[in-house]
């Protein structure tokens, strides 16, 4: 039981270290929709990886279509803000500014940082899910955040 308690504590810590939006996501999950968070987050991962890939390709072109890049970043920004990945979102804002300036160097730098931030948030989220699973496997209940 002690491990469950530990896991629960870890889970809470992790969750609160994420942002309010994520907690809200968790709130949206209920009996009728038990895998909601997982669904959304997986969707986010899928979408993000596709977008990052697209961005990388777009920025490697001879002639960079900044409009296209901007659209990708906008979408990335939207989804990351929905999920509560604020650092990713902030990077997206910076990215869009570079896009507006047509600053390829800045864009590339941003892409790198976004990749980094994305990895971080992905790790974090995966940790949360892992903990969740562990808690469930250990027979505990997932603590309610907030």
């Amino acid at each position: 039981m002690a491990t469950v308690g530990q896991l629960q504590k870890q889970f809470v810590d992790f969750s609160t270290s994420l942002y309010r939006e994520f907690i809200q996501l968790q709130k949206l999950q209920d009996e009728s929709n038990p895998d909601f968070v997982f669904e959304v987050v997986s969707l986010f991962f899928e979408d993000s990886e596709k977008l990052l890939n697209n961005l990388a390709i777009a920025l490697q072109q001879q002639v960079v279509d900044f409009k296209q890049v901007d659209a990708h970043v906008h979408q990335f920004k939207g989804s990351s803000s929905s999920i509560g990945a604020h650092r990713v979102k902030n990077m997206c804002v910076a990215f869009r500014n570079f896009c507006e300036e047509k600053n390829l160097d800045g864009c590339l730098r941003c892409l790198q940082q976004i990749n980094h931030e994305y990895c971080l948030v992905k790790n974090k989220l995966e940790n949360v899910f892992r903990l969740e699973r562990q808690i469930l496997e250990a027979g505990g209940t997932i603590p309610l955040i907030a």
Binding site: N33, F44, S79
Partner: protein, 991 residues
């Protein structure tokens, strides 16, 4: 004559002036009036000043009128310059010609005067001369009769001398008369014997009239054909007796001419010896018999018997004559003998050089051969022609002035033009700066808003965590303050809108009591610091939910309360909310104020409101969905001086500069409040007395939310519902306030002035509230409200629970919960209500969510699903259009704005177009209503989903036909507000 001339000149000058004025004022019509009044005023300086002003104005007008018509600036400038030079030349020429004309007029007049004077003198001289001449002629007749016709002669020298002597007064101008007889050479000897002397020759060198001259010294006349020796002479010239007048050249000519013509003949003037004056000799011939007038000269010579001569003293003649006339001083008279034209002989007057003007009058002394002239001159030179000079100088000055004005005008025009260009440039720069400022403001405020949103979000999250009541309250206050800060930033941005009248009020339902509680909690700290009691009372007749603009309402109340708290150091600030209809029933109780300090009569603050001065039925009969709210903010501060009452609502006006220094602030708060109140169709007024306090009152019109009018503004879901409380407070007004707050929790309150009295009367109370004032145990520093649980019936020694004033419903509820040991089940009452209501609203509704971002789509759908909605997804605007083309079963649509291919605005516009097409089709009968589910006017509510909430988006939403917007991620409160509004209007339409 002279006077007339002067007047004429004046008229001329005035005419010139007027002409110039009129021509100037012609364009600047209306200007002449001022000039006229200036003329009447008569002060020259003023006139010119006014004229100057006129011209300046006129110049400006010209600038405006002509700047578009007359070509480029350079050309125009040259044109002006040429015109100016031409004008000045014209002026100079005009003034010169006027001068010339006027001086020539004067000269003519002078000449005329001189001529008339000269002629007058000449005529008189002539007349007098003629008189003397006639007399001499008469004498010649006497001589003829008494000397030649009588034999022996009746006249001898003695007789002649005596006669001439005695009749000399008749000839005042003659100095002497003499008679010479004609003696032929043949008769000479006999004559000489008869007379007893020889005929003497006249000496050329020695003049005839020498006084000391002895006839005996004279040579005997040599032999001639004939002689004319003087036989009779007046005593004055007795020395000429025996002298042959024919021997002198002058006399000879005279004599010969006289006898030929038979008329008086004059010699050339010569100097008389005795008087040293100029004189002439007049000679008449005496004939032996009377001759016919047409006798030939030969006959006359034949018949000549002798010659009578008279010596005329011309100088004395003229002098005497001039003395008789007035104004002899003004002119100089010269008389000349001009027989020999090339060498005139002066007969009278100093021989001054005859420069300048003179007049010549011919004199006729009866001798056709001798010509005489009278020359007249003015003694003084012609005086300066002052009139002409002043007139012409005046004209010159006027024209120069006009020229100067013209010049100045042109310069001014140029200057104004330059200034204008300069201004335009400055304006452009200013506009650029303004744009930059707006950008800056927008950016900065956005930048502030973003972290503030973080703060607010965190606070919101904090509220959702497990907190105790006090913490909950702190967080709530912090959140409200943060929200107020955000709204302040918005206000700064809206400031321009207020002033340009572009501000529009929102129409949302809100809880007035909650708003006022929020305002109060904002000032909580300040009022406690200042030890000022802050209290709120909302009349039970005010509905719980009103539709209006809570933000603006809050802004007004905040401004007024903030103002009051700024100027109040002791006593209380009391916010009361009533319906306007209740105002007339209100009474002023002087000694009954919240803190016991005197207050001003609040009724005075609304005494000037139109709605009260009008017929009251107008307000009371207004429909039930028009709620007239009246809010009063009463304080016991330092008050406002009466003279400043009128100006406090002016922007940037404070009572005095010292106020600004002491209390700070811009003084714009009241002005904004006034604008907002006017926007809410209300009025604002104040009553204030120095050192007593002020009361600001405003009215506002809100609409009532239909149907669900809660008479009592209580929170129905309160866990205290149905409880009974006893309120012990001797002060009626304070008890009223406390009662209001407690009743809001659904607790039934009974008020008693005394504790003992209350407990005996009401046996079953859940709680007792006692005002600190009458709590006699301890005097705690803060104004505290003490509550006692119902368990203590008589024993009040148990430690009581304190509630700090000012009372607010949330605070009260929290304190009660704590005091009564209730578990705080609900986090936040209002949030719970929102969530609950949302579930009610959304349950079973079919909602379409459109978002290109799958993650966002999923989150939004999840959020809506949580409230029981049936959610359908769409990733593209095009798909949304297909889904939303009637007939469909969707109750609402949430649409992302920024989407690839087709954004939310465009999709909405298209959907609205399709809906309109169907509506028109059904109306025209082309489409059957049955095919569209018996609904003719399809209008699916479309709400925009947007991440950044900016004002423009709000307007854009309305423009493209959207019904509202919600910010992402969803917030229960906002979602509820928008959804309830949308479904509200929908249900309105369907009913």
């Amino acid at each position: 004559m002279n006077l007339l001339h002067v007047i004429g000149n004046l008229v001329l000058v005035v005419c010139c002036w007027f002409l110039s004025l009129i021509s100037l004022n012609w364009v600047s019509n209306g200007g002449i009036m001022t000039v006229k009044s200036g003329l009447i005023g008569g002060d020259g300086g003023q006139i010119w000043m006014k004229l100057w002003d006129q011209i300046s104005v006129f110049g400006c007008k010209i600038q405006h009128h002509y700047s578009q018509y007359i070509g480029p600036k350079k050309l125009r400038k040259n044109w002006w310059r040429k015109l100016l030079i031409a004008w000045i030349l014209c002026g100079i020429i005009l003034s010169l010609s006027v001068f010339w004309y006027m001086s020539s007029l004067a000269l003519d007049k002078r000449k005329e005067t001189l001529a008339s004077m000269c002629d007058e003198r000449a005529r008189m001289l002539q007349d007098q001369f003629n008189v003397s001449m006639n007399h001499i002629q008469a004498m010649s007749v006497i001589v003829s009769i008494f000397h030649h016709d009588k034999n022996p002669s009746a006249i001898d020298q003695t007789t002649f001398a005596r006669y001439t002597e005695r009749t000399s007064f008749e000839r005042p101008l003659t100095s002497g008369v003499a008679y010479a007889v004609r003696v032929l050479h043949s008769e000479r000897e006999q004559f000489e014997i008869q007379q007893g002397w020889t005929i003497k020759r006249m000496d050329e060198q020695t003049p005839v009239h020498e006084d000391e001259y002895d006839p005996a010294d004279l040579e005997t006349s040599p032999a001639h054909d004939e002689y004319a020796p003087v036989i009779f002479a007046q005593d004055t010239v007795a020395h000429v007796i025996s002298v042959d007048v024919l021997s002198g050249k002058e006399d000879r000519d005279n004599v010969l001419r006289a006898r030929e013509s038979g008329k008086g003949v004059l010699t050339a003037p010569f100097r008389l010896l005795k008087t040293n004056r100029l004189g002439v000799i007049l000679t008449f011939a005496v004939y032996k018999r009377e001759l016919p007038p047409n006798a030939t000269p030969a006959e006359r010579i034949q018949e000549t018997a002798g010659y009578l001569g008279g010596i005329f003293d011309i100088e004395s003649l003229v002098e005497k004559l001039l003395q008789q006339l007035a104004s002899k001083q003004t002119i100089i008279v010269n008389v000349y003998d001009t027989t020999n034209f090339s060498d005139p002989i002066s007969m009278y007057g100093s021989n001054t050089s005859s420069d300048g003007m003179h007049h010549v009058s011919a004199l006729n002394f009866g001798d056709p051969i001798r010509k005489h002239e009278m020359h007249c001159r003015f003694k003084q030179k012609q005086p300066w022609q002052w009139v002409a000079i002043t007139t012409s100088v005046g004209i010159l000055i006027i024209s120069l002035l006009v020229g100067h004005i013209f010049h100045a005008t042109v310069n001014r025009i140029a200057k104004v033009e330059d200034d204008y260009n300069h201004m335009m440039e400055l304006k452009k720069r200013a506009e650029a700066a303004d744009i930059a400022k707006s950008k800056f403001l927008a950016t900065v405020s956005h930048e502030i808003r973003t972290p503030m949103n973080g703060v607010l979000g965190m606070l919101q999250m904090l509220m959702d965590t497990r907190l105790d009541e006090t913490q909950q309250d702190y967080v709530r206050t912090a959140r409200e303050s943060g929200k107020a800060l955000v709204s302040l930033i918005n206000d700064v941005l809206d400031q321009a809108k207020i002033e340009s009248g572009k501000l529009e009020l929102e129409e949302v339902s809100f809880d007035l009591r909650a708003v006022i509680d929020d305002v109060l909690s904002m000032f909580l700290g300040k009022s406690q610091d200042k030890k000022v009691e802050l209290a709120v009372y909302v009349s039970s007749k005010v509905p719980a939910t009103l539709v209006g603009d809570p933000g603006r309402f809050r802004q007004i109340v905040t401004n007024l309360v903030g103002n009051s708290i700024k100027f109040t150091d002791k006593g209380h600030i009391f916010v009361t909310v009533h319906l306007v209809e209740e105002a007339s029933e209100m009474e002023f109780e002087r000694d009954e104020s919240l803190s016991g300090l005197p207050v001003v009569d609040r009724r005075r603050s609304w005494s000037k409101f139109r709605s009260f001065n009008q017929e009251s039925p107008a307000t009371s009969s207004s429909s039930s969905d028009q709620i007239n709210i009246m809010v009063s903010v009463e304080d016991t501060g330092q008050g406002i001086p009466t003279e400043a009452h009128s100006s406090v609502f002016n922007p940037f006006m404070q009572v005095g500069p010292s106020i600004t220094r002491t209390h700070g602030g811009t003084g714009i708060g009241l002005s904004i409040s006034q604008c907002l109140v006017h926007l809410m169709k209300g009025e604002i007024g104040l009553a204030s007395s120095p050192h007593i306090g002020s009361t600001f009152t405003f009215t506002a019109v809100f609409s009532n939310i239909n149907g669900q009018q809660q008479v009592n503004g209580s929170i129905s879901s309160s866990e205290f519902q149905g409880m009974r409380a006893l309120l012990v407070d001797p002060k009626k007004i304070r008890a009223k306030v406390s009662k209001y707050h407690i009743e809001r929790l659904g607790i039934h309150v009974e008020v008693v002035p005394d504790l003992s009295l209350g407990l005996t009367n009401t046996p079953t109370v859940n709680m007792v509230f006692i005002e600190e004032e009458i709590w006699d145990c301890k005097n705690v520093g803060n104004p505290k409200m003490l509550i006692l649980s119902n368990s203590c019936s008589s024993d009040s020694a148990r430690s009581p629970f304190a509630i700090t004033k000012p009372l607010r419903v949330s605070k009260l509820a929290a304190s009660l919960q704590r005091a009564m040991g209730m578990s705080s089940g609900g986090n936040n009452l209002s949030r719970e209500i929102h969530a609950l209501s949302l579930r009610n609203l959304l349950h079973g509704r079919k909602i379409l969510v459109v978002d290109d971002n799958p993650v966002n789509l999923r989150v939004a759908a999840g959020a809506l699903k949580k409230y029981g909605a049936d959610v359908v997804h769409a990733e593209r605007g095009a798909k949304a259009i297909t889904l939303l083309t009637p007939p469909h079963l969707f109750d609402a649509c949430f649409m992302d704005i920024q989407m690839p291919e087709m954004d939310g605005f465009e999709a909405t516009e298209r959907i609205r177009k399709i809906e309109l097409g169907i509506k028109n089709g059904i109306e025209d009968g082309e489409l059957s209503v049955e095919a569209y589910g018996n609904v003719s006017n399809w209008h699916v509510p479309i709400l925009a989903m947007t991440a950044d909430v900016i004002q423009a988006t709000n307007e854009a939403c309305a423009r493209s036909g959207m019904d509202g917007y919600v910010s992402k991620p969803f917030e229960a409160e906002q979602l509820y507000r928008e959804v309830s509004r949308v479904f509200q209007t929908m249900s309105d339409e369907s009913h």
